[in-house]
């Protein structure tokens, strides 16, 4: 592993960074979200199909997920069902160019499935607000880790 990869997956103290799964079929949007995630303290990874995302959530542990609702001819809602079957508590941020009603529908499905769905984002993405949301999730993870260490 190179030094560059180390800095992407570990923080300055050598502690592993929390992991962010970016699910979107658009490379440019994935890149923006990944780089905002890195600024927020995450180690990002991407999935460009629903199938790839399903495999990753089954084999790896993620601390936050960003989810597009329209991935090729598939829908991101399928992944919500998969995560619910796994009883996932990972925060999920829906980011989609779909109509507002579609985003709200997906959030309501996530809530009904008892998933940790956050406030959704439309496209164009408000970059500053998304970074703020990612920083918020990052801080919450840090606080939970500290509380667990003290228990």
């Amino acid at each position: 592993m190179t030094q560059h990869q180390d800095s992407r997956t570990s923080d300055a103290g050598g502690e592993p960074r929390p992991r962010l799964l970016v699910i979107d079929d658009d490379a440019s949007i994935c890149t923006v979200i990944e780089r905002l995630g890195e600024k927020a303290g995450f180690a990002p990874e991407r999935a460009v199909t629903v199938e790839e995302a399903k495999q990753l959530v089954h084999t790896d542990r993620f601390d936050c997920i960003t989810l597009d609702l329209s991935i090729g001819t598939d829908t991101g809602v399928e992944l919500l069902t998969t995560l619910a079957e796994m009883a996932s508590t990972t925060p999920i941020i829906i980011i989609s160019a779909s109509m507002r009603s579609m985003r709200e529908f997906a959030v309501s499905i996530g809530n009904n499935l008892h998933l940790a769905v956050q406030e959704p984002f439309s496209k164009p993405i408000d970059f500053a607000k998304l970074k703020e949301a990612l920083v918020g999730v990052r801080k919450k993870i840090g606080a939970e880790q500290n509380a667990a260490a003290m228990a």
Binding site: D26, V32, K123, A128, K131
Partner: protein
């Protein structure tokens, strides 16, 4: 770094006349670039925009190769993808034209599809020209 010929984030002033005062129907809304520079820095932003233009060029190429009467579902998904990414990177006119194409994807005629693609490509070419000035 900032001088009479550049804006705060090093955008050439020559690019600015392409922006309408109300920000609507422009080939390239520079504020999208500047907002990303504020979050990522100029080099990462230029890299990211370059990825966008590569991908958008591919989408336009695929749209040009589609038969609008036989591949309407693919047309709809390509138009939806272009709508979202173009909006993200400040190509508002391309995004609006792609949104119209997505909306009409199930009924558009071959003649109207060709005309819509021509408008998309013209607007996209203008945006590419502005981006090339940003990179200079």
């Amino acid at each position: 770094m900032n001088d009479d010929t550049t804006t705060e984030h090093g955008v050439p002033a020559a690019a600015s006349p392409h922006i309408a005062p109300d920000g609507s129907e422009v080939e390239f809304d520079i504020s999208a670039f500047e907002n990303l520079v504020a979050e990522l820095g100029r080099d990462d932003t230029l890299d990211t925009f370059a990825i966008f233009f590569d991908e958008a060029s591919g989408r336009l190429r695929r749209l040009r190769q589609l038969s609008c009467e036989e591949q309407r579902t693919t047309l709809k998904h390509e138009a939806h993808g272009l709508k979202g990414s173009a909006a993200n990177f400040g190509l508002r006119q391309v995004s609006d034209l792609a949104a119209a194409l997505e909306h009409n994807s199930q009924t558009i005629t071959a003649e109207n599809y060709a005309a819509a693609l021509q408008r998309l490509e013209t607007s996209y070419a203008a945006a590419c020209e502005i981006f090339s000035k940003l990179r200079a």
